[in-house]
């Protein structure tokens, strides 16, 4: 069972706040929920700040990175904090919603932040072409490093071709 976000008692009330288009999910035990509901507007932000400052003191890595808490994912309602305590994300959209925070985390885990390798064939053409571009540009750099200018010239032409195709397929940009 999920724990109350303020104390360690089991959460029995799950509150989703909708305010000016932003979504906030809260998981609270009975007593904390009462408190939350009776004074729900301003004191909360004070509390969040104080708990964050504790985090900052013992976790130097994220201190400058997360000056204030991100709103929860509008799709699955998970907060970044919740994810950090569970170790599992809630849905695929989290990767877009928390892209900045996750990029840092993923760099720590994998030392890289850009996927290479297999791409679903069903992906819209544009993203496959973007992958081609990434791969070709990497190869171009290698070719130049190896001083293989003939290969580099060929790669450069391929990159231009893909870029042209990309532009024609998405007239918006």
């Amino acid at each position: 069972m999920k724990k109350c976000e303020h104390c360690s008692k089991p959460a029995v009330l799950h509150i989703t706040e909708l305010q000016d288009g932003s979504v906030e999910a809260h998981h609270l035990c009975e007593s904390c929920a009462k408190e939350y509901l009776t004074q729900n507007s301003e004191p909360e932000s004070v509390e969040v700040e104080s708990s964050l400052s504790i985090d900052e003191s013992d976790d130097s890595e994220t201190s400058e990175a997360v000056p204030q808490e991100q709103p929860p994912c509008p799709n699955c309602g998970i907060t970044f904090k919740e994810f950090r305590s569970l170790g599992r994300l809630g849905c695929a959209h989290d990767y877009s919603h928390f892209r900045e925070e996750l990029t840092r985390l993923i760099e720590n885990i994998h030392s890289e932040v850009q996927h290479v390798g297999k791409v679903p064939k069903r992906q819209p053409d544009a993203s496959r072409q973007q992958f081609d571009l990434i791969r070709l540009k990497l190869q171009l750099k290698e070719a130049i490093d190896e001083e293989n200018y003939e290969k580099a010239a060929g790669l450069r032409d391929q990159i231009r071709q893909v870029e042209l195709e990309l532009r024609s397929s998405s007239p918006a940009t």
């Binding site: 994300l89 849905c91 695929a92 892209r99 996750l102 932040v113 996927h115 390798g117 679903p120």
Partner: protein, 356 residues
């Protein structure tokens, strides 16, 4: 699929065939995939989990791959049967413990298993006997392509295939090779191997994966990094490392035989003798002795038993297997008696000269 039928035989990957089979037990590749339109499993309600399971089950049953798959709804199975599937490496421990609707599609040779609602919606694995990563990749890649025609995977142009845990994101691939390294363990050289592997970011695990002990001198070596390297490059790094470890293990084995053939011959023969005659034996002792016997057979010091039999005994002497064989629940002490009896019987069958 009748699970009782499975107890009588073993998965294809245990047959001790394939390249480097004296040291490499199996090659395994696993891909983690999620469906774009559902929340991840840990965030899905029971009703949504059931939807995911129904959706994937239908597609797995229709899959036109090389091998027909039988689908088992593991959440409907008894705990003993789930444990049995774990021992056969068809499902993970996490999958066996999972609550909520889940299942697995398995090929009759037991070298393909597609787990539904594990940590990710879909975890697909292919197992091969011996060192055979290329064949495993060819098959899992084909299955992945076929699945992809039926479902929309969660994918991001920066992060690749999206997984519930960021440690698997990108390719979603885990390449593992299971090695039998008794000589490196006996000479304690194995510590150097661990340190070297750690430095290059590869993981070492026991027979049953994450958190399991290295019983019977078995070690699984696998990649940890899944993003920023292609599947082929990840496989290559594992292949290169395994080739070095194989060379190391073989050199140490040769040295052991050369320096003290008699002592080694004595040790492996005693191990064999105990297994042939014991009346009660723990799982731990069994693994330890089977490991000695396995090395003895591979070095030509024991010729009364075949490698596939030894490989099978490692799996078939596990707790759930013994209880399935006996068709009853057994306490630890009873299992030790059943285990000893089963080993005596298997080793006698295998060698008609010594059977009474």
């Amino acid at each position: 699929m009748n699970l009782d039928v499975l107890t009588q035989r073993s998965g294809e990957w245990l047959r001790g065939t394939g390249p480097e089979a004296d040291i490499v037990i199996s090659s395994r590749i696993r891909l983690a995939r999620n469906l774009a339109e559902f929340p991840f499993v840990n965030r899905a309600s029971d009703a949504v989990r059931a939807q995911i399971e129904d959706f994937l089950r239908e597609r797995i049953e229709k899959l036109q791959g090389r091998r027909p798959l039988t689908y088992l709804r593991t959440s409907d199975l008894e705990p003993l049967d789930r444990q049995f599937l774990v021992e056969r490496q068809l499902i993970s421990r996490e999958h066996a413990e999972d609550h909520g609707q889940c299942g697995v599609g398995v090929s009759s040779e037991e070298n393909v298993s597609l787990m539904v609602n594990e940590e990710d919606h879909l975890r697909m694995q292919v197992l091969r006997s011996g060192m055979d990563l290329d064949a495993a990749w060819a098959e899992i890649n084909e299955i992945d392509d076929l699945m992809e025609q039926e479902v929309a995977y969660a994918f991001d142009s920066q992060f690749g295939y999206l997984t519930a845990c960021p440690t698997n994101v990108g390719t979603g691939i885990r390449v593992s090779v299971m090695l039998h390294l008794p000589a490196l363990v006996a000479t304690k050289e194995i510590q150097k191997v661990f340190q070297a592997l750690q430095k290059i970011g590869l993981a070492v695990r026991g027979l049953y994966g994450e958190g399991s002990q290295a019983m019977g001198d078995f070690y699984q070596i696998s990649n940890q990094v899944t993003l920023g390297k292609s599947e082929i490059d990840i496989m290559k790094s594992i292949k290169d490392v395994v080739a070095q470890i194989l060379g190391y293990e073989r050199r140490v084995r040769t040295a052991l035989v050369k320096e003290n053939r008699q002592a080694l011959h004595d040790q492996v023969s005693r191990a064999f003798g105990i297994l042939q005659n014991a009346q009660t034996i723990s799982s731990e002792e069994t693994m330890h002795l089977l490991s000695s016997v396995r090395m003895g057979v591979n070095l030509g010091l024991i010729d009364d038993v075949e490698i596939p039999t030894v490989n099978e005994l490692f799996i078939q002497t596990q707790p759930a297997h013994l209880q399935k064989l006996r068709h009853q629940k057994l306490e630890s002490a009873e299992r030790n008696i059943a285990r000893a009896a089963y080993i005596r019987q298997r080793l006698a069958e295998n060698n008609p000269h010594t059977s009474a």
